[in-house]
């Protein structure tokens, strides 16, 4: 009997757990260690943040699903991994602290034959003083945060109805943030909402980002083939900003958020401040705080994890200049180089480098987006690693590992605003591949015909469809595995 332990029940961890359970015989054990009791379809938190959906509509309890599928669910937080075991146990171990209310705070160890680290991000609000819902800005990273943002937006609408001009800042709260796509989507949801409630005139909506240009989205921008021309995501995004009257502050690193005022530095080294009535600023991400120890108890965290806290996998982590970055640097199997039974997927794996060109201000401040690896790629990595482990258990330790390089897979990003079948609109983008490959696509690094951007009601229907489809899939209902990640 083999035991596979998955740390995290987000998009990649949950996907891996369901696929493993399906591919492994009942004698093998699949265990999910997750501090959360609920699963959350994070992309729809944006709609919670403008009051169009409730927390209940974007979450569901994991326990009944795991009980039905025969997956062990341990509601706990992993604090350390011991890939060589310890003096008492030769198998790999994970140190956990329970978050399950019935035994919160008590500790235990979980042994494993295979381990998938899918811990997702730690929301690092502490990187910027005053950032976050416990301080002076809002977030939509969790349903709770999004509900708070929605209530604050209602207060802004009330003020606008009273004829008071309001400044709404939406974007990222640090120079090294990722997920600019989510900030972009929330910006246009807020714009849509203010228009729908008839109060847009007195609202100054500002998008604040660490991107060098609009349309960068942490992937270095895109080139589309459109109406017989190659056009850029920069022009496409700027057109949308002009049409909706949204201002932009780019190349910015937020240094501090005080009550009603944020302080930022620009890439040219100048500093400025911006007074606001509403600020939704996403935090930078770090890896979960998991330590690692060898059999003797010597700490090996720095060997297994990058300084950012993300797990090192089969990527090329050699430091090299931007011009030498290659698609081959990106991981394919997500296997840990030192321990062949440990894998890292989703946001938890350490990317070899950014995708957007790195830049620093004259003051030495890094102001460039970190690479996104959420949603579609996270799910694919979870599925592929699950298959690799199932093959090794079912066929033997020499079974070939599956691959899912971000330089060989595409992704779709749909920024949808509004709700319902007739009233919504969305900006939808596809890109292939996610990591540019100049060897295959010398002009822009991507296939210009598979990379696209369009705006309209149809894209909004797609976003709605994906919301219901992925919730159905995550609930492991009939035929769930036929729905692609």
């Amino acid at each position: 009997m083999a035991r596979v332990v998955i740390l995290g029940a987000g998009i990649s961890g949950h996907t891996a757990a369901l696929h493993l359970r399906r591919q492994l015989k009942g004698e093998h054990q699949v265990t999910v260690v997750s501090p959360n009791a609920n699963w959350n379809w994070i992309p729809s938190n944006i709609w919670v943040g403008v009051g169009k959906m409730t927390t209940k509509q974007v979450t569901f309890p994991l326990a009944p699903i795991y009980k039905r599928k025969g997956i062990e669910h341990v509601q706990a937080k992993a604090v350390a991994i011991r890939p060589e075991g310890d003096a008492n146990c030769p198998k790999g171990l994970v140190d956990i602290v329970y978050t399950d209310p019935s035994r919160a705070g008590s500790t235990a160890q979980v042994d494993y034959d295979y381990l998938i680290v899918a811990t997702g991000p730690k929301l690092n609000f502490a990187a910027t003083p005053g950032l976050g819902p416990d301080a002076n800005s809002l977030s939509v990273c969790t349903p709770g945060h999004a509900e708070q943002a929605s209530a604050a937006l209602d207060a802004v609408v009330d003020a606008l109805r009273e004829g008071r001009r309001q400044t709404l800042v939406i974007g990222v709260g640090h120079g090294t943030c990722t997920c600019e796509g989510a900030a972009f989507e929330y910006t246009f949801n807020v714009d849509h909402e203010l228009r729908e409630r008839g109060v847009r005139d007195l609202a100054d909506v500002i998008y604040l980002s660490n991107e060098y240009d609009l349309g960068d989205f942490g992937v270095g921008g895109m080139t589309f083939a459109q109406n017989g021309f190659e056009t850029s995501s920069k022009l496409w995004t700027e057109s949308l900003f002009r049409e909706r009257g949204v201002r932009a502050i780019l190349r910015a690193h937020v240094e501090r958020v005080d009550e009603g005022v944020l302080h930022y530095e620009l890439l040219d080294g100048t500093k400025d401040r911006l007074a606001f009535d509403f600020a939704m600023l996403l935090p930078p991400f770090r890896g979960a705080d998991v330590q690692a120890f060898d059999r003797d108890g010597t700490e090996i965290t720095a060997e297994l994890f990058a300084p950012s806290g993300f797990l090192k996998v089969d990527a090329d982590y050699d430091q090299k200049p931007f011009e030498e970055w290659a698609a081959e640097d990106w991981p394919k199997t997500y296997q840990c180089p030192r321990y062949s039974n440990v894998f890292g997927v989703g946001i938890a794996f350490a990317p070899p480098h950014a995708i957007s060109q790195p830049r620093k201000s004259p003051n030495g401040t890094v102001i460039s987006p970190a690479p996104p690896r959420t949603g579609m790629p996270s799910g694919v990595m979870g599925r592929v690693v699950a298959r690799s482990i199932a093959d090794r258990i079912n066929k033997g330790a020499s079974a070939e590992l599956g691959t899912a390089s971000m330089a060989a897979m595409g992704a779709a990003c749909i920024a949808s605003a509004g709700m319902g079948m007739r009233k919504g609109t969305a900006a939808a983008m596809t890109m292939y591949p996610i990591v540019p490959d100049l060897t295959r696509f010398p002009r822009s690094g991507r296939d210009v015909y598979e990379t696209s951007g369009e705006i309209g009601l149809g894209a909004h229907w797609t976003k709605l469809m994906l919301h219901y489809l992925f919730l159905y899939k995550a609930k492991a209902r009939l035929g769930w595995h036929l729905i692609p990640e």
Binding site: L214, E238, F241, R422, E450, A459, W461
Partner: protein, 48 residues
């Protein structure tokens, strides 16, 4: 006017016809099918 604001101010605006097409149900039904077909093709192409 800073560089970013200037660049946005010079971006092309959609024509009334384009704006109408974005909300036209028959046209958007076609775009819905086309976009989802593109996504499926991408899934098949890149996901091993």
């Amino acid at each position: 006017m800073d560089e970013v604001t200037q660049s946005i101010a010079q971006a092309p605006l959609p024509t009334p016809k384009t704006l109408r097409s974005r909300t036209s149900v028959p046209y958007q039904l076609m775009r819905f099918v086309a976009f989802n077909f593109k996504m499926l093709k991408m899934v098949r192409k890149g996901h091993h």
